[in-house]
Amino acid sequence: MIEATHLTKRYGSKTAVDDVTFTVQPGLVTGFLGPNGAGKSTTMRMIVGLDRPTQGRVRVNGRSYAEHRAPLGEVGTLLDAKAVHTGRSAYNHLHAMAATHGIGTKRVKEVIEMTGLESVARKRVGGFSLGMGQRLGIAAALLGDPQTLILDEPVNGLDPEGVLWVRKLVRHLASQGRTVFLSSHLMSEMALTADHIIVVGRGKVIADAPVADIIARGKGGSVRVRTPQAGQLEDLLRRASAIVTQADHDLLEVTGAPSAQIGELAAGAGIVLHELVPTKVSLEEAYMQLTVGEVEYQSENPLGHVAQDTASLTGVGQTEGALR
């Protein structure tokens, strides 16, 4: 359980995290989502006491992180894959971390095995790929068998197999009743992994809700209707206060009316339909709608781009890894 109350972090005149309040519940995978620079990493660093909040406080498992007598046994953290001395081997890194909590070498070997690092455990971390670095970070987070896990961009740099592995691992950890809090800027990954999502933009919480609610909150999906009587149906739908755009002589894009209602209206007026296709709002689209205006470095027309790609978005989760 992570409880942040009025958490604020300012660097000079720049406010990285702005009066953020949220709770991360045990037994769920909670996604922490936001564009780059939204304050995700700063928030996570404040949770484990690496950055001091300018205002507010954050408690993990009922106490502030530094008050725990065995912090690694309470909270496992992957803050970034580079929190390791490059000259030391993976095994020695984990061994040194473990020693602070009297954790034996047996557990060190266990987490090495769990993260698939056996073959490189004795090699210097400096030669590790980004993916191996992530696995080492996850191994370190698991050392103390903690109730709460905080993972900052855990799938960053992982191959498809690694992405799948992280997804299964965090689901498994949450199913054991642990609190899992992971950040990402990849919506598609979150859609597949998280139960609950906290969306941040420019240091503020924009949304804090179950995944399904976030999707539902997106401005309703549109319905594609193909009919030889397009003009007639358009009038009918307008009267039902739906928004209609004519994409072709026989093709309408309808928002604000579900496909069932459109079908019934058409049947009532004896209009022939050749096609009636509801287009689902993806989490990605919902997220873009939430964060538009909140991103620090905005490309020209993110929404337009997303709308065009709606159909292909469902496959993003799979292709994401494959493209790497």
């Binding site: 020695n92 061994h95 009297g102 698939g116």
Partner: protein
Amino acid sequence: MTTATLTAPTRSVKPVTFPRIVTSEWIKLRTVRATVWTLSVTVAVMVGLAALGAWSSTSFFADEPNAFAPASFPIGGWYFAQLVVVVLGVLSVTGEYSTGMIRSTFAAVPTRVPALLAKALTVFGVVLATATVAVGLSWLATLPFLGQMGVSIDLASAETWRLLLGAPLYLATITVLAFAAGALIRHSAGALALILGLLLVIENVFAAIAWRPLQVIAPFLPARAGSTLLVEDNFLGGASVVDGIVTLGPWQGYGVLTAWVVVLLGAACVLVRRRDA
């Protein structure tokens, strides 16, 4: 790659204690290459320069075998050895900042100050032990030359023990001074420049320039004060104040160096809690 092991984990997490942190720091210190090579170089420098000094004395001072205290030969390499150990002192902490390791360290020990002190203690102990071994080896290396000069180290003399054990103590303490500078500056290049600049330039300039304000301050600079511990009785002026310029006794001088270390390490402890990692 299996998650099955998670269901039956080895639950053996114990509270963080100072001895556990020291154990962790010891593991960290011995598992990086910088430690291995700086300590090897320290021993090589100590033994090599001691043998060289003793050997050259057999010819240059053949007529006056008692020009130097015999115990000063095995510690003859201390000046150059300090330039090596301070590098270890600085890197043992700045290496964690430059690699990001410090975040893992502070995640494990969120109160931070114990981690910093454990690190300082570990580096102190390691240099003390290594330099003690180096002095022992230097003694063996100088034995043949001392024999040639017809002198031997008098184990009954307090001066002998002050010199032989003072050298490791001085080296270990100056290492912690460098460590504290590293912890304050958090940057390898900056901290190394400061500490080597102090040892090689600042202290020598203060000692060399006959300008009164510099002469008043010079005896209190860390290396000059601390190394009084390594000056043989013949060359010690004895603790005194002449015309406002202080001459420190060996243990007074070492006390001044210790004070520098305490102040800098104290400042590092205060700042390490305030700064973001």
